[in-house]
């Protein structure tokens, strides 16, 4: 049984966030940072006091913030977070959320739309059971092809509404998917591995041998400063190849968000599966 807690990990990441928010950031980085703050706050509200203070974010001039500059999941995480902490930052965030509510169909057809609908719906943190059968070609999970794997992940995220719909046992899909997650981890493809692990959780595999192994991996790749991932070589290479300020910032923001999100989905909070989408607004 794994001994890593998403609450403690979030508190540690929040401390790192506090050290980087003081300086002016590009829109893309700022969106990622706010999204990461939202995940930290969802996992550990008490230890993230500073992150949920409107004043903390004032220096970033968010009044004219362009939410559409980042990917839809990060942007929505950021917008719902800013709306939640209120202050005078809320207008742009509210407008963005209203816009998404209007343009995203009620019946999502892909993972991004499902993420928006599930987050905005947020009428319950309980999981709803359904008898749905996933229409997945199992060969895609034994093809060695990441594009096919991502299509499977899209289907799972869409149809389980990011794990808020509990579907019945789907044959070997979960077991095969665990293998895909381990394969991605073995290649150190963390975004793909973490996404696959979250999909395992949506299929009810949290607590399995492989998922616990994945959870341990994530816990052990958190650095002392709170960020996730062992990227010394990649970062040194980025610094060698670019003269811009902090090329690694985007990497650490993105991976840390993915890592905390995955830890949360693989863990239980108060004895129940934790679903980030049910805890964002």
């Amino acid at each position: 049984m794994t001994h890593f807690s998403p609450e403690n990990a979030a508190a540690s990441t929040a401390k790192w966030l506090q050290t980087i928010i003081g300086s002016r950031m590009e829109t893309e980085h700022l969106t990622q940072a706010i999204a990461l703050a939202s995940v930290c706050a969802a996992l550990n509200p008490k230890s993230c006091d500073l992150l949920i203070q409107p004043a903390f974010w004032q220096a970033q001039n968010l009044r004219n913030f362009d939410f559409s500059a980042s990917n839809i999941v990060n942007s929505l995480m950021a917008a719902t977070f800013l709306q939640k902490i209120k202050g005078d930052l809320v207008t742009g965030a509210s407008n963005y959320i209203t816009l998404l509510n209007e343009v995203v169909p009620q019946s999502p057809t892909n993972a991004n739309e499902a993420y928006v609908r599930t987050t905005l719906q947020n009428n319950t943190s309980d999981q709803i059971e359904t008898e749905m059968v996933l229409d997945i070609d199992l060969r895609h999970l034994r093809s060695g092809n990441n594009t096919k794997l991502k299509n499977v992940l899209d289907i799972i995220e869409t149809h389980t509404r990011f794990g808020t719909l509990v579907i019945s046992e789907q044959g070997p899909i979960g077991a095969l998917l665990e293998g895909s997650a381990m394969q991605a981890l073995s290649k150190y493809d963390l975004p793909l591995a973490f996404r696959a692990l979250r999909a395992c959780a949506y299929l009810g595999r949290a607590g399995s041998f492989v998922c616990d192994s994945g959870l341990d991996f994530i816990g052990l790749c958190q650095n002392a400063n709170g960020v996730f991932g062992d990227f010394d070589t990649s970062v040194a290479k980025m610094r060698r190849d670019t003269s811009e300020g902090q090329p690694e910032l985007s990497l650490y923001l993105s991976i840390s968000l993915q890592a905390l999100w995955t830890m949360a989905e693989l863990s239980e909070v108060s004895g129940r599966p934790f679903r980030l989408t049910s805890n964002m607004t």
Partner: protein, 317 residues
């Protein structure tokens, strides 16, 4: 028993494999041992043809446990070819000094004890080598000790290898590398240890494994799924065999893996290896390509035959 393949699928796979083996016998043919005279005997090392010949023999030994397979005409002809070729190539030539060939020769002698052509004088020479205090004293992993112990036990040699209980205790089977970091070498270590402990399904290892059974079942399931995800059919098949020997029957993951193996079999009958799938067996010269392809695909093809025998074998209650 039949819990992986339906009989028609199995028949189709076996037909393909035996046909492919028959079409590639020249690569299974080992060197003429009594004509290799210019090397110091101690320096004569095993090569890929000797290895292929030995592994074909090991496969035929297990096939002999399954009447449905053993009685096929093509299998009987193949067994005959294997024994006659071994005789013709003098595979036990200079046995006491060609020490590096000893492991493969023990396998060959165990195969001959089952298929025919067994000569007690060869076993006596092997016992002489064992008593020189070398073979069973090399600093090697539990996996390689188990591989040797298994075959020297089959031909009744006295040796200094540890008991199965101690080998299990000192192996890595109780705490293996995390799945994502496990190398192919680690996973072959896992499969071969279980093959040996279980005598390819002839022994119930529940008691030997004891409280580690759940861990081994979880680990092998994760490893199998990981190998399927990377299309590593060779290791996937070995892991499926391992799980049969651990007592797994009718698991949805293993049945899906069996479907994958059926689907990946090529029309000529072989199962692709890692190099074939990576496209590195290509060569301008067709004969060179045929040879490169053979030495990549023969192992996954033979272990698939092992898997079929594992499914068809009778198991201890």
């Amino acid at each position: 028993m039949s819990f992986l393949f339906d009989p028609r699928q199995r028949q189709h796979m076996a037909d393909g494999i035996f046909s492919w083996v028959d079409d590639h016998l020249e690569y299974f043919d080992p060197p003429q041992e009594d004509e290799i005279l210019d090397d110091t005997p101690e320096d004569v090392t095993s090569d890929k043809r000797r290895k292929a010949f030995g592994e074909l023999g090991a496969c035929l030994r297990l096939i002999n446990r399954c009447p449905d397979l053993r009685d096929r005409e093509d299998v009987q002809a193949l067994c005959q070819w294997w024994i006659e070729t071994g005789d013709a190539r003098q595979i036990f030539f200079d046995l006491r000094r060609r020490i590096q060939l000893f492991p493969l020769r023990v396998v060959a002698q165990a195969v001959r004890a089952t298929l025919g052509g067994y000569d007690q004088a060869v076993t006596d020479e092997m016992q002489n080598v064992m008593e020189r205090g070398v073979i069973d004293r090399y600093e090697i992993s539990a996996w390689h000790k188990m591989d040797m112990k298994y075959y020297v036990d089959l031909i009744g040699l006295c040796h200094g290898y540890d008991t199965d209980e101690n080998l299990f205790k000192h192996s890595f089977l109780q705490a293996m590398p995390t799945l994502q970091d496990a190398t192919n070498y680690d996973l072959y270590g896992l499969t071969h240890l279980i093959f040996g402990f279980a005598d390819f399904g002839n022994k119930d290892i529940t008691k030997l494994v004891g409280p580690h059974m759940t861990y081994l079942l979880d680990y092998t399931a994760g490893a199998l799924a990981m190998c399927l995800a990377r299309c590593d059919w060779d290791l996937a098949v070995e892991l499926m065999m391992t799980r049969i020997y651990l007592g797994v029957r009718n698991h949805t993951l293993d049945r899906e893996a069996a479907r994958a193996i059926c689907e990946c079999q090529k029309p000529s009958g072989f199962i692709p290896g890692r190099k074939f799938l990576a496209g590195t067996t290509q060569a301008d010269d067709p004969m060179m390509q045929r040879e490169k392809e053979f030495f990549d695909v023969y192992h996954p093809t033979l272990v698939t035959m092992f898997l079929i025998t594992a499914e068809l074998s009778e198991y201890p209650a």
